[in-house]
Amino acid sequence: MRTLAIVPAYNEALNIGRVIDELRAFDPSLEIVVISDGSSDRTAEVAAELGTHVLKLPFNIGIGGAVQTGFRYAWENGYELAVRCDGDGQHDPAELGKVLAPVLAGDVDICVGSRFAGGDGYRSSATRRVGIRLLAAVVSVISRQRVTDTTSGFQALNRRAIGLFAADYPHDYPEVEGMVMTMRHGLRLSEVPVAMREREFGSSSITALRSIYYMVKVLTALFVGLFRRPVGPLEDA
């Protein structure tokens, strides 16, 4: 199975090398594409020097657009499987086996690594936990399936799911909407518990102040999304 690791990165020159090394340590046959989302540092160069595929966006288009570029790359180049692993080092490639297993077994189209499904002590602020719980509850209700971590970008996808996200993928904070989209299109999704790490360098793109804005935006998007007609995933010719 040709498998592609999709690694979105924005100014992650300090973290990206380690992520790539760890992805290769997990599986040397894994192909890697790093999407540098308009980075102003050497993210793309570092990745290229390490011999990965590199997609260099001409300017910053945001995480959703960046990840979708990766899905389009996977789609156009015929990969059967894709894993998503953020370039900031918070996802541990050693855990990839867990998210890949259900997809490889053909049980689901997308498998999401959840920080909360296993009750592993992932630390975050109280407000953020409330937000995460709320989103999980809303998505669970909409999709009639219990989910615990709606913001996890640590995922494995089969070709069908790649086709869906290559055709249409939410922009700003895509994981929540992506989950609902997946299920509305009749794709099967499951979660597996994984451990995640704190970032080593730099800061996350979601600050405390932006959280409220984020919640309002995501909830609005989810609500409007309920009234949107599904677009079919891309199909192989």
Binding site: K56, I61, G65, G78, V231, L234, A237
Partner: protein, 152 residues
């Protein structure tokens, strides 16, 4: 009642000034289209705005009647403000849809640039499912376009 309305009708000066201003708007929009600085598709709403305002400004009897219908007893030219504001809102909303479409297309272009650049750099053979991909990718964009055809 009728007397009150007549007594507080549109003053001639207001009518003249408003007519002049709305005519100016129509002329400016027309000139912008003529000199190709404004595309027709984005000018239609402006022309409509200008035309409606010209008619309401010049036709005092009409403005007074409409004001009476709407229950505006004191000062009929207030209807001009209301109509003007309504059109400004419509134009702004139209622009929001235009900006949304442009940013969507901009994003797709950025993605295509990155994908093509990488393909050139890696000198890859033609992608296995480029045909399927390029045939079907416009699907979501078309949906967006279907969502707001009325204002175009």
């Amino acid at each position: 009642m009728t007397l009150t309305v007549l007594a507080s009708g549109t003053p001639l000066k207001v009518s003249l000034a408003a007519t002049f201003a709305s005519l100016l708007l129509v002329i400016v929009v027309f000139e912008l289209i003529r000199s190709r600085r404004l595309q027709e598709r984005y000018a239609l709403l402006w022309l409509l705005t200008g035309t409606v305002l010209v008619v309401l400004s010049a036709w005092r009897g009409g403005l007074n009647t409409i004001a009476a219908w709407l229950g505006v007893r004191g000062y009929p030219p207030a209807v001009l403000f209301a109509v003007g504001l309504l059109f400004v809102i419509l134009v702004l909303l139209h622009y929001s849809t235009v900006i949304s479409r442009l940013s969507e297309q901009n994003l797709t272009l950025a993605q295509r640039v990155a994908l093509l650049e990488t393909r050139i750099n890696e000198r890859l053979p033609a992608p296995v499912s480029a045909q399927a991909g390029s045939d079907q990718q416009p699907a979501p964009a078309t949906d967006e376009e279907r969502a707001a055809p009325a204002l175009r």
